[in-house]
């Protein structure tokens, strides 16, 4: 009896190991099956030195100044955009924009306290004062303007398609009929694909995260991944030899920096920081060192001050 029990336990353990090994298989390739360790963070190399700032009439700024630190909401799962690598280092286009703004407000980027705020909780985090500002693929919409204020846009994204490098059949949104299309569960891009009937409902694949979609794309289980081109470029930049962005955006998403609703002075100050980076080439350097590695170019957007 004793022998049998231990044999069962051993066999069970072996099977469990096999099971968990299989379950994990999908994840590492999401980073980049190109072999190179593209998971580790690399920054664009732009140095942000704190400016001497003074923003009269901004309660948020007063709080930042007296604390000597700034609380910034970001994302952590978007390579080259808003990302945290295995060693805990953060990098990406949005992260560097956040660092640039912090420096413009007189705070050394090393003093930033990051919090990862999921999309659904952004408004409440800003309203509740959990964060001073938010930089993370935050589209400016009229509905959101009721709850928060936006500086920017600092980037104009649009829904696009990520495909394997050798893909020739998919060239734009009207060529994905009959193709398996993947995106994050319930995301606006996939709701758009469904509502506009761009592909059949049975060909729509949804996972919790984009990296699962990218892994399925590389495994040829899906044919394309769709969402904002900024996010797609970040994945393509991780593995430019295996994936490319089609480059025919079919929506407009203006990314802004989310700020407390009534802090007009702070909004003006952040807009000035962005404007300066557009004209002095800082924006371009940040872009080229992050999303630009995907091979797609971009121009600084026009600010919308309101």
């Amino acid at each position: 009896m004793k022998l049998r029990t231990s044999a069962v336990v051993l066999a069970g353990a072996a099977l469990a190991v096999a099971l968990s090994g299989c379950g994990k298989e999908g994840t590492p390739s999401a980073g980049g099956s190109g072999g190179a360790a593209s998971d580790a963070c690399t920054s664009s190399g732009v140095k942000f030195t704190p400016a001497s700032a003074s923003i009269p009439g901004s309660p948020t700024y007063d709080k930042i100044k007296s604390a000597g630190t700034v609380k910034v909401g970001v994302k952590a799962d978007q390579p080259n955009l808003g990302y945290k690598d295995a060693s805990g280092k953060r990098c990406g286009f949005d992260i560097e924009i956040a660092q640039m703004v912090a420096a413009g407000l007189g705070i050394d980027p090393s003093k930033i306290q990051y919090s990862e705020i999921p999309s659904a909780n952004r408004e409440s985090a800003i309203k509740g004062g959990q964060i001073d500002y938010y930089v993370g693929t935050y589209s400016i919409t009229d509905k959101r303007k009721n709850d928060v204020a936006f500086a920017g846009p600092y980037f104009v994204a649009g829904q696009d398609l990520l495909v394997r490098k050798d893909e020739t059949a998919i060239t734009g949104k009207d060529t994905i009929k009959g193709k398996k299309v993947c995106s994050a569960t319930g995301s606006t891009p996939i709701q758009r694909v469904r509502d506009e009937g761009l592909t059949e409902p049975a060909n729509i694949v949804e996972f919790k995260t984009y990296s699962e979609c990218v892994s399925q794309l590389l495994d040829k289980k899906v044919d394309t991944v769709t969402t904002d081109d900024a996010i797609l470029k970040g994945f393509a930049a991780q593995n430019p030899s295996a994936m490319k962005v089609v480059g025919k955006p079919f929506s407009i998403e203006k990314y802004g920096i989310g700020l407390p609703h009534d802090d007009k002075a702070l909004r003006r100050a952040v807009n000035a920081i962005l404007l300066k980076s557009f004209s002095d080439g800082t924006w371009r350097k940040i872009y080229d060192g992050t999303l630009g590695k995907s091979g797609s170019s971009a121009q600084p957007p026009k600010l919308e001050q309101y």
């Binding site: 336990v9 379950g23 659904a120 319930g186 949804e206």
Partner: protein
């Protein structure tokens, strides 16, 4: 309050569509798990050592594996191993195999309430194992199994939400969808909870009537 109601009314299409999938997963998973679980329960008390060992191995392996892992195995790993499985069948198989382990243990606990004398008497009059199990032990065992079985089924109903991990969109995907539509997250989740409570209610009633039906005069 009106916002609370409008979260449901404005998104009624999604609520209906996704809860329908939840119920489909529950019905398929429930029926499959009850059948497989009863068979496994029979294996665990069978006179053949190899069958008993298999039953024990199955229950202890599957019951101790997280459900997400089971579903992800059938959703992602099985196709890689050359078993072509679409996502919905994969989710059903995962739920059936996982829940069957718990059904098996509920059935076995019921079997243990039937006194050994019953089986011995049945064997004494020459019944083979199939008959001893199916006509003497199981009917008495199921009576004692009803409460734990209903608990297992209720757990299954809620476990269906894990299927979001393998591209099966059901009630568990509603928060993702509604947050993108700008609906209040708290209200969304309260509505989902209310509907789950409503779905569980018939199961509780079923339990009560099954218990009454199977009751024996003490």
């Amino acid at each position: 309050m009106s916002e609370f109601v409008s979260v449901l009314t404005d998104n009624a299409d999604l609520f209906v569509q996704f809860f329908r999938t939840t119920i489909e997963l529950f019905l398929i998973g429930g029926v499959g798990a009850l059948i497989l679980g009863t068979v496994l329960g029979a294996l665990r008390v069978s006179p053949v050592p190899a069958m008993r060992a298999f039953g024990t191995l199955y229950v202890n392996t599957v019951r101790n594996t997280p459900l997400t892992l089971v579903l992800v195995f059938f959703g992602f790993a099985a196709p890689k191993l050359g078993i072509p499985l679409d996502y919905f069948p994969a989710a059903c198989i995962g739920l059936i195999l996982y829940t069957a382990a718990f059904v098996c243990e509920s059935v076995r606990s019921g079997i243990n309430t039937v006194s050994a004398g019953q089986a011995e008497a049945a064997r004494a009059i020459g019944m083979p194992f199939g008959q001893v199990f199916g006509e003497v032990v199981l009917p008495q065992a199921l009576r004692a199994s009803v409460p734990p079985l209903v608990s297992v089924l209720i757990a299954l109903l809620k476990n269906t939400t894990v299927a979001t991990a393998v591209n099966v969109q059901q009630a568990g995907s509603l928060p993702d969808y509604l947050s993108e539509r700008g609906a209040n997250q708290l209200f969304t989740n309260i509505w989902i909870a209310i509907i789950f409570v409503l779905l569980v209610a018939p199961l509780a009633l079923l339990q009560r009537s099954a218990e009454r039906h199977a009751a024996v005069a003490a």
